[in-house]
């Protein structure tokens, strides 16, 4: 019986855990050695500036994939505005396709949209939210920049250059 309760707890924990993680990541990003490239800010959103999302992307990177057909992408997405925003998709001129995924305990699921709350941070990080980039051309090389275009349903798009990092790279390590 106790096992069952604990297992349910694991499911229930998932959401607060994600929040806690992004909290940690955001403070780490602010104080730790910032990634040199991979930062971008959205241009002024349409409409009144009083209640609008203010989006910025930092720490964008792509681990050099060990097989060339597919790569993952990670970044920190911050909303300093008073209004939530919804990320509706990511594209790259260098990739055939880019999809947003969330890793779970045993597989990964598509996440067609990702909501970024007002004054909130959503972290795409290893073992959690990530981009899957298919068919990158040219094949990624260490140090190369790969352009990512993030589109939102209620804010201007944000374009960021993700740096190709070593296969085992982890931010802050």
């Amino acid at each position: 019986m106790r096992r069952r309760t604990a297992a349910l707890g694991a499911v229930a924990l998932a959401a607060p855990l994600a929040l806690a993680l992004t909290g940690c990541s955001s403070s780490g990003g602010a104080t730790g050695p910032a990634t040199t490239s991979g930062s971008a800010t959205s241009s002024a959103a349409a409409g009144s500036a009083a209640a609008a999302p203010r989006l910025s992307v930092s720490g964008a990177y792509i681990p050099l994939p060990s097989l060339p057909d597919m790569a993952a992408g990670y970044f920190v997405l911050r909303n300093d505005g008073d209004k939530a925003a919804t990320l509706t998709g990511v594209t790259s001129p260098q990739a055939q396709s880019v999809s947003m995924h969330q890793s779970t305990a045993s597989t990964m699921v598509d996440t067609p949209t990702v909501r970024i709350p007002a004054h909130g941070v959503v972290t795409f990080a290893r073992g959690g939210r990530h981009l899957m980039l298919m068919g990158l051309k040219p094949a990624p090389k260490l140090g190369a920049q790969i352009e990512l275009q993030l589109r939102f349903d209620d804010a201007a798009p944000v374009t960021v250059q993700a740096t190709v990092q070593p296969l085992t790279y982890q931010p802050g390590q």
């Binding site: 096992r3 069952r4 604990a6 297992a7 707890g9 694991a10 499911v11 924990l13 998932a14 855990l17 806690a20 993680l21 940690c24 990541s25 780490g28 730790g32 681990p63 994939p65 060990s66 097989l67 057909d69 597919m70 790569a71 993952a72 995924h101 890793s103 305990a105 045993s106 597989t107 990964m108 699921v109 290893r126 073992g127 959690g128 990530h130 899957m132 296969l167 085992t168 982890q170 802050g172 390590q173």
Partner: protein
């Protein structure tokens, strides 16, 4: 969720329990990792451990031990590989995954590879890292070899019949489903650590385990320190 097909104690639930422990560990390391990064880990126990983690290892102690799966699979050179005989008396990390996995599999193999690379050379030969594909139709031996070589050329890659692989995984409490075309393969993402002292698994690492945890634990595992 389909009803459990596991007759034994390693059930889906135990996988979930494992992920609970790992989630807690992930949370701790995510918050505390930067403060302790760089400092070489000692046995002094300055690392924060969760309530359930006692003993010398930072990985999750298993509630029961597991024997190495008694299977013969095929290595990346196409030769039969008897998992029990081929790794007997050596520390072994066992992971089930697939090479077309963008996030969790390369992250786990990468974290292990970094930890292994930091071991003294004579220690590195005392541990076998074994990757068993959960997508044998797509993962050719050559692809597995290329994929693993990017992490560490000595890592052992195994493939075989999916039913054999599912049974091998099940015997150590790892859930693997037969891949379905057009869907992402489903596999438990935990790594099992087998001791050279008794060739049994005593410790489990869930996905999200950091390199620092592996760096801390691998020397203990190689020495056969009891969990």
């Amino acid at each position: 969720m389909s009803s459990s097909t596991f007759p034994n104690r390693p059930t889906r639930r135990s996988v979930l329990l494992g992920s609970l422990g790992g989630a807690a560990a992930l949370l701790l390391t995510a918050c505390g990792g930067s403060s302790s990064s760089g400092a070489s880990s000692t046995d002094g126990g300055q690392a924060v451990t969760s309530a359930q983690q006692q003993g010398p290892y930072q990985g999750d102690p298993l509630g029961r031990t597991f024997d190495k799966p008694a299977v013969t699979l095929t290595d990346t050179s196409g030769k039969p590989f008897d998992l029990v005989a081929g790794t007997r008396g050596k520390a072994m990390l066992l992971y089930f995954g697939y090479t077309h996995c963008p996030d969790v599999c390369p992250t786990t193999m990468g974290d292990i590879a970094v930890a292994v690379s930091k071991l003294p050379k004579d220690q590195q030969s005392k541990i076998d890292v074994v990757f068993v594909t959960t997508d044998p139709d797509r993962d050719t031996p050559a692809e597995i070899r290329t994929w693993l070589a990017a992490f560490n050329p000595t890592f052992i890659g195994l493939t075989g019949d999916i039913k054999t692989i599912i049974a091998a995984a099940k015997s150590v409490g790892v859930y693997v489903a037969a891949p379905v075309k057009g869907q992402e393969p489903v596999h438990g993402a935990q790594t099992l650590a087998f001791s050279p002292a008794d060739d049994k698994a005593h410790v489990l690492y869930t996905s999200g385990t950091t390199t620092a945890v592996f760096e801390h634990d691998l020397p203990l595992l190689i020495k056969g320190v009891a969990a």
